[in-house]
Subunit: 216 residues, 2 copies
DNA sequence: GTAGTTTTTTAGACAAGTCTAAAAATAATA
DNA sequence: TATTATTTTTAGACTTGTCTAAAAAACTAC
C-alpha cells in the first residue's frame, strides 16, 4: 500500500502529465504547494517503488503501475463527490475538500459498491469523467466556450477551474451543467462572449469562457 | 484539529474508561497494540492540549473536551458502519476496518448529513448506540445472555465482541439482531446455555452467552 | 563557448510518532 | 520494612515527510 503523501504525489503527476508533455519538479512543487527539495525526495521514493520513471534533472512520468494508482484515486475522488452532491445534497462548490480526504479510504470493494449504489455514474458533479473499476473512462471530449464560433450551440457539461469562487459565480449566473447555450457574439476588443440561455442574454469574460466546457 | 494518532488514543481511552475506573498506560498500549513508552509520549502531548487529565504514574482520564472528541469519533464510526451495512450491503463482520478509516474524515457537516440521509439511526449494525450530533446517546441498556435466568425471554440486540470470527459464528447459527430467544436451561457443569429460537433448540457456550446482548 | 540565470538536487535539520534499553516510581510480598 | 516484581517513564535512536541553504546541473543569451 501507499502512504497518503505518495498518493497525493501520484495524483498530482497524473494531472500535470495530462496538461504538459514532461512533468518537472517545480511543477509538482507548485501544484502540491510544497518545496522542490521535498519533491525530489519523494520522487526518489516513488522511483524505488517503480511507480514513476525518474532520472535526475530529466523530469518524471508515471509507470503503468503508478498510473493505475493515480486513476484509482481519481475514481474514488469523483465517486465521493458524486455521492456528496447527489445523496447528501451538498453543492458542487462545497465537496472538493471532503472528497480530497475520502479519496484515500483504501478499500476498493467499498468504492465498487458505492459505484453500484449510485448506478454507475459516468461523470462527477463538475462534468469530469469517472473511471470504472478497471480504470477505463472516456477521454474528455469537452471544449471550452472560448473555442466556440458565433451562433454555435452547446450544452454546459463541465468546468476546468474547480475553485469554489468560480463555481459559486457560475451558480449565481445560472450557468450550471445541463443548460443549453448559444453564442450570440464575441466582442473582439477583449473576447467577451455574449451568450443566450433560456431567452436571457448574458456576457461572460474570456477567462470564464475558457474555463466553462461544452459538449460537442 | 487533532491528528489521526491523537484521535485513536482518545477513542481508546474513552472505551477503556467505560470498562475500568482508572485507565493505565499499559492498558492503552495493549488496546492500541503499541509500546508503553509510546503511550507515555502521547499522553504528555494530549495533556498539553488539555484533552486528558494526566499526572505521571497516576493513570489518565478524559477532560470534557477530550470526551467530546472521542464521542464524535465513535459517532462517525457507527454511522459509517450503518451506511456500509444498510446502503452498501456489507455484512456486519466486514465493516469494522473500513469504518476505522472513515471515522477520521473530518467534516462534521458531512456526518450530520449522512445521519439525516439514513434517517437518524439509533443503533449501529452491532447494536451499539449512535450518539446524536450533540454527543447524546442512551447508555447501553443491554445485558448478556449469561446474566439471564432459566425461562427468561429476550431479543438479541447487540454484541460485546466485534471480531469477525465471532460475528461470523453468530451469523451461521442464525443468532442475529432482532431474533427472539428463550433460555431453556443452563447446564451447571460449564454454564452452557440452551436456547430456544424459532422453534429450534441450540446450545451456546458461556463464552458466547457472555458476548451476546439482550434487550431488557 | 563563456557568463549568468534558472532548475534541480544534496546536505543537514526538524517534528511526529514509533521503538529498545535502561532508570525511576509504585505495588506486592516475605 | 526490606526486597522483589511490575509498571511507568526517560533517554536516545529511527522513519516519514517536510524545510532552508548551498551546490550542481541544465538552460539562455550574448
Amino acid at each position: 500500500m501507499n502512504t497518503l503523501a505518495e498518493e497525493n504525489y501520484l495524483k498530482a503527476i497524473y494531472k500535470l502529465a495530462s496538461l504538459t508533455e514532461s512533468v518537472s519538479t517545480n511543477q509538482i512543487a507548485a501544484s502540491l504547494e510544497t518545496k522542490a527539495s521535498s519533491v525530489t525526495d519523494m520522487l526518489r521514493k516513488l522511483s524505488d517503488k517503480t511507480l514513476i520513471n525518474y532520472t535526475r534533472y530529466q523530469g518524471v512520468s508515471l509507470t503503468e503501475a503508478g498510473e493505475k494508482v493515480a486513476i484509482n484515486i481519481i475514481r474514488k475522488h469523483r465517486l465521493w463527490e458524486y455521492f456528496l452532491v447527489e445523496k447528501l445534497n451538498f453543492k458542487w462548490d462545497e465537496v472538493h475538500d471532503m472528497a480530497e480526504e475520502m479519496e484515500h479510504i483504501s478499500s476498493n470493494e467499498l468504492i465498487d459498491r458505492l459505484d453500484e449504489f449510485m448506478g454507475f455514474p459516468k461523470r462527477d458533479p463538475h462534468g469530469d469523467p469517472i473511471p470504472d473499476c478497471n480504470g477505463q473512462f472516456k477521454i474528455n471530449d469537452l471544449k471550452p466556450i472560448s473555442a466556440m464560433a458565433v451562433s454555435a450551440r452547446g450544452i454546459i457539461s463541465g468546468v476546468r477551474d474547480h475553485s469554489s469562487v468560480f463555481l459559486q459565480y457560475l451558480e449565481k449566473q445560472g450557468l450550471i451543467i445541463g443548460k443549453k447555450i448559444t453564442v450570440k457574439e464575441i466582442i473582439s476588443y477583449d473576447n467577451t462572449v455574449v451568450l443566450q440561455m433560456d431567452n436571457k442574454v448574458l456576457q461572460i469574460s474570456h477567462e470564464v469562457a475558457n474555463n466553462l466546457l461544452i459538449a460537442i
